[in-house]
Amino acid sequence: MSTEARKPPTQIALRIRRVLGGKAGWNGVAVQFAFAAILGWIAYEIVSNARANLENQHIAAGFGFLRNNAGFDVNQTLIPYTGSDTFLRVFVVGLLNTIIVSVIGIVFSTVLGFIVALCRLSPNWLLSRVGEIYVELIRNLPLLFQILFWYLAVLAALPNPRQSISLLGLAFISNRGLVVPSPIGEPGLTPFLVMLGLGIIGSLALRSYSRRALFQRGQVIRIWPYVLSLLVGLPLAAMLAFGVPFIFELPQLKGFNFAGGSRIIPEFVALTLALSTYTAAFIAEIVRAGILSVHKGQMEAGASLGLSRGTTLRLIVVPQAMRVIVPPLTNQYLNLTKNSSLAVAIGYPDLVSVFAGTSLSQTGQAIEIIAMTMGVYLLISLVTSAIMSVYGWRISRSLGA
């Protein structure tokens, strides 16, 4: 009888068995495959049935409509757009409007959230009560209601353009929004921007050099005079050599509205205000929880080293709290982005309003448009959460955890 060793099963098969089957072994794998097959069959049935029914009812299908002329206008466009552009461009216009309101909302809500959290934790009785009232008031009122409040109660109370509030004759506030002078590029613009870019790169290089000197040799180098001269001096030199980079176009009242200048529409302001104040209330609680999760011995250690409360928080407590703060903070950022779709209530032209709203009813292609819109929100959310994961990972690494 030969004692030839039994041939070991190939690694890949073992691996499949372990990953898919778990304790149940090959039976488990079979069940998994059967389940996947059923899911696939259901998905196929839904798609083919939908296609057949759309065909029977003569409802247009497919993505060909994206090349058609949209034929309606949008009042805030970050890229050039007219009514004779395509639905695809409408999609991009709406997407950019959603992204800008989300990004600005995220920045404001984070700053405000941290401030409110620090107020709540402050030993000052008045400050902590103010923080508490803010959080309890704002997070317990429905967001849609707050958006309408800012839009209909606050901003609509502003005067009409003819009686607008003038800020030094340069900017004007009215119920049509904030009009500011807009820069118009001159021939000197390119060298100016190049020099500004060089200045920024130089400053960053200096900063990294001085940090290395500090950490490796314990040497403190004062860099701010050089940074200042780089950032101001280089562009200034470019201006002297090549002339002014841009001139400002002043807004002027003409007919019904202001002509010239750039305008921030009140819908955008109302939506950003409502989204950032609302989300800030949640962020404040997250930050507070994070800071409280750091042992109070850390605060006392800072105090015993003679650091002020603010410095202790900034250098010692908050970096440790960030580990706890970042994951729920990501949730709030995602919420803010998704909540921006309430824009349609006040006529802000976000993705849901112009694409899943107007374009949908102009073309009637609900399935395609809703699928695209959902896909885009999913993508934005995944990108946001990926960025935050990388950030959280860097914090954990720098704390050596």
Binding site: V47, A50, N56, A60, N75, A156, A345, G357, T358, G364
Partner: protein, 338 residues
């Protein structure tokens, strides 16, 4: 949320139901015991709920007439308020049986939405309303104005065409519902409110001081408004279409709610055909022989409905104009019932 529900309904309806479900609208309605009718979210004169929650208006009376023809009872209607952008989805998904919601008949809507227009209940056209204090007399003076409009309407596209064609600049602010649009106009966010002219008169009544606002003379588009039904059920299409024609025919023949019983006994051959004492047109439609009698008795003829809701007998006081009968200088014309 509402839209999400609708879209899910549509996805399921499109995905899981079969063609047969669409082919028996009349039977479904009879089994259910009521007609499901898509109306607006509140447009005085066309479809709006009164203080007791009863819906009234021209579009509502179309639904009542259909219910009267089917059930001999105009109250067997379930009204589903739809926004301008959700209305077609509601019809496609089967949530409503007929969309009677001041909807403009266009070729794209007729061909790409899986639905058909059954006729014209009101010949309208798009106009502009501004505050009197702006001292504007013509739409051509509206360069650089801010315009409030309801999103998802033909109005939005006509507006873009009109301003581009006349080389004028404007800012558009589009809202989801009619009420939001009117509120924004009233608060001064826009200089101009635009919609179908009948809608301008109707909405003006909602403003605090209707007298401070003026409707400009220009009509910039053709807006024939009419009911819509889903593709795939020709019998149902015929019922809705001929309900409208019956109302117009009744006005033409001088039939109204008061004299209908007496006229039903008439020996006039045309009246006998229309009122079902001769022939069986009603049964061919899937209704009863006396379908026209039911419609006229419960709802009235087209002229009565018009006057009561938007015409001289209503706060809107709109003249018949294009909506008069064909033999009185208007466009309302019904093919013969024979």
């Amino acid at each position: 949320m509402k839209r999400v529900t609708l879209v899910l309904t549509l996805a399921f309806a499109a995905g899981l139901s079969t063609q047969a479900a669409y082919a028996q609208t009349l039977k479904t309605i009879k089994d259910r015991g009521s007609l499901s009718c898509g109306v607006s979210q509140g447009l005085p004169g066309f479809s709006s709920p009164d203080d007791k929650g009863n819906w009234t208006g021209l579009d509502v009376d179309v639904c009542r007439a259909i219910a009267a023809a089917i059930f001999n009872d105009p109250s067997k209607v379930k009204y589903v308020p739809t926004s301008a952008k959700d209305r077609f989805t509601a019809l496609q998904s089967g949530e409503i049986d007929v969309l009677s919601r001041n909807t403009t008949w266009t070729i794209s809507r007729d061909t790409s939405l899986g639905a058909n227009f059954t006729g014209v209940t009101y010949y309208d056209g798009q106009g502009f309303m501004v505050k009197k204090s702006l001292k504007v007399n013509s739409a051509l003076e509206l360069n650089s104005a801010s315009v409030c409009v309801q999103t998802g309407t033909t109005t939005e596209q006509n507006l873009a065409d009109y301003f581009r064609a006349n080389n004028m600049k404007y800012e558009v602010i589009a809202f989801g519902t009619n009420d939001e649009t009117v509120k924004a106009y009233e608060s001064g966010r826009c200089d101009v409110f635009t919609t179908d002219q009948s809608g301008l008169y109707a909405n003006r009544l909602k403003l605090a001081n209707p007298g401070d606002h003026v409707v400009l003379p220009e009509i910039i588009s053709k807006e024939p408004l009419g009911p819509m039904v889903r593709h795939g059920d020709d019998q149902w299409f015929d019922i809705v279409k001929w309900t409208l024609f019956a109302m117009v025919t009744a006005e033409e023949l001088g039939l109204n709610a008061k004299n209908i019983d007496e006229k039903a006994k008439s020996d006039n051959p045309e009246l006998k055909r229309v009122l079902g004492t001769d022939g069986n047109f009603g049964e061919q439609l899937g209704l009863t022989k006396d379908w026209v009698v039911r419609i006229v008795k419960h709802v009235g003829n087209y002229g009565d409905v018009f006057d009561r809701n938007v015409g001289s007998g209503s706060p809107l006081g709109i003249a018949r104009g294009l909506n008069g009968l064909w033999n009185k200088g208007g466009l309302q014309y019904a093919p013969p019932i024979r």
